[in-house]
Subunit: 305 residues, 2 copies
């Protein structure tokens, strides 16, 4: 089991040549999820050699430009690449009008099915699941309706303990699935072998929480509690804590405090304001509170095993 996060953009506000607005790619189980889509995201996807066709779900946190202005371009490019597979866009109520208005006025069509999953609940809700993965919203506190997203692997099958299995000639390959599903094994003589002696517990499922943009908001702690990896925005340093409050953003120290109180394993911060020349102080400020912090950086890949 592994989870791979690629940072496509991690800066706030306006795009610059070496500072792309928010976008991330999460590979979890068989899924390739795109999270947020600032202007230029499609170019970043090409730069990091990500196959457009793999993306089947896009999650948009909120409708501020630095998180969504690249979506219409990506949707148009999908068509030019002759996409046929359905895409689902999960995002705030309004995301459909946002995209459909532009398609209509440009007399364009997608050419493949687009499903808009519009969100409006202010409580955390399950917005996607299949056998292996579940995605929940994380209601955030920003100037506009905003959700973070919590991506969770589901508890998988039990792992076969081949050393033990091979001791019993009666257990055949066709029995393996039952063992993986947790069933005990009945020998021909009627004796029962407990599943726990033939299998190991399933690998602990991994989870990733994406939280951008938000003011310091302790109400998310129970939702993201103990996730393996937390991305939390850190637009400012503590020198601008008042500005963070007014604009409903967070400081690096606040992001780290949330990570600490949520007992997450690892924190990655980003969404830096362009007023700061370097990001070094963001790391210093956050690590003072939560040691296992790293800085988001375009092209950075974080893998959790």
């Amino acid at each position: 089991m592994s989870l791979k996060l690629t940072i496509l953009g991690c800066h706030s506000a306006t795009p610059r040549e070496s500072a792309h607005p928010t976008s991330q790619l999460l590979e979890i189980k068989n899924h390739t999820f795109l999270i947020d889509c600032g202007e230029g995201t499609q170019v970043q996807l090409r730069k990091y050699k990500i196959k457009f066709s793999k993306i089947k779900h896009i999650f948009i946190s909120h409708l501020h430009g630095d998180h969504v202005f690249g979506l219409i371009g990506l949707i148009s490019t999908f068509r030019l690449l002759n996409r046929e597979t359905e895409i689902t866009v999960h995002g705030p109520k309004g995301i459909k009008e946002f995209i459909v208005t532009q398609l209509r006025l440009s007399e364009s069509y997608a050419g493949y099915p687009i499903k808009f999953h519009e969100l409006s609940s202010k409580k955390s809700e399950l917005i996607f699941e299949d056998k292996k993965v579940a995605v929940y919203t994380i209601p955030l506190s920003h100037r506009i309706y905003t959700n973070g997203f919590m991506f969770c692997e589901k508890l998988g099958e039990r792992n076969l303990n081949m050393t033990e299995i091979n001791k019993h000639s009666g257990i055949e390959i066709c029995d393996y699935q039952n063992l993986k599903n947790g069933k005990d094994f009945k020998l021909e003589n009627g004796n029962i072998i407990k599943n726990s002696s033939l299998t190991h517990a399933p690998t602990k499922p991994l989870s990733y929480a994406f939280c951008s943009d938000t003011s310091y908001n302790e109400s998310i702690i129970p939702i993201i509690n103990k996730v393996n990896l937390l991305y939390h925005e850190a637009t400012f340093l503590n020198d601008k804590i008042d500005l963070a409050k007014t604009t409903k953003h967070s400081t690096a120290e606040q992001a780290a405090t949330i990570a600490k109180k949520s007992e997450v394993n690892e924190l990655i911060i980003g969404h830096y304001s362009s007023r700061y020349k370097s990001t070094d102080d963001f790391l210093k400020e956050a690590q003072a509170v939560f040691k296992n912090t790293q800085l988001a950086k375009e092209g950075k890949i974080v893998t959790i095993n």
Copy 2:
């Protein structure tokens, strides 16, 4: 007098790292006009160190994404840069809804006046003028309502012939403006000196015609006749003339034919399809018909004196 054209993007369809969609900057008289605004245009403006505040008029040829998807981002960035000056967007009917819908849904506001000048005429019309410059539409033939734009300097003042003027002690500095305006000079003794002997004819005004996107369309020839510089799209080579016809684009040879028949001074072509690995053949094909052709290229500056 001079006219300076900066190519910000000159490729068709989807943006790639080294292939930006259509956008150009024209500096003519005291104006800095932005022409078309594909995704990523604001980053290109920064790259070529163009002051955002200088742009007061934006001309959008049509509402296909590779000519307009960067506009909302630029408009948003203007606000983040604390712009106060009015901006006028000249573009097809629908451009206002295109932008205003996105501003409304992202709960944003421009913070400075935006004027939308929506176009719907199928005939060439004057869409902007002041004392020194006039801008006309060039109705093009594309899959969607599209205009090219014709930027014309106005005939300026006459130039003083100081050698002749200095021969007459009665002509003072305060008389110069009348001379520039073409008035004859009356000496104290009542004798008249003809203006033509005291001034030279004004510098010949310059003009630039921007034509993208369009199928081969001879009806534009009278409009762009004898312009100093013509940009004409050349999406395909002649090997794809059928595809050019279907998609209502032009080939390099067709662009050159229009240039030749319009007796323009200089041609610049662009909007290359990504199917071609190199642009060399575009130049070869166009120059076979119209020698004074050059290829558009990101960052290229064409100056006409």
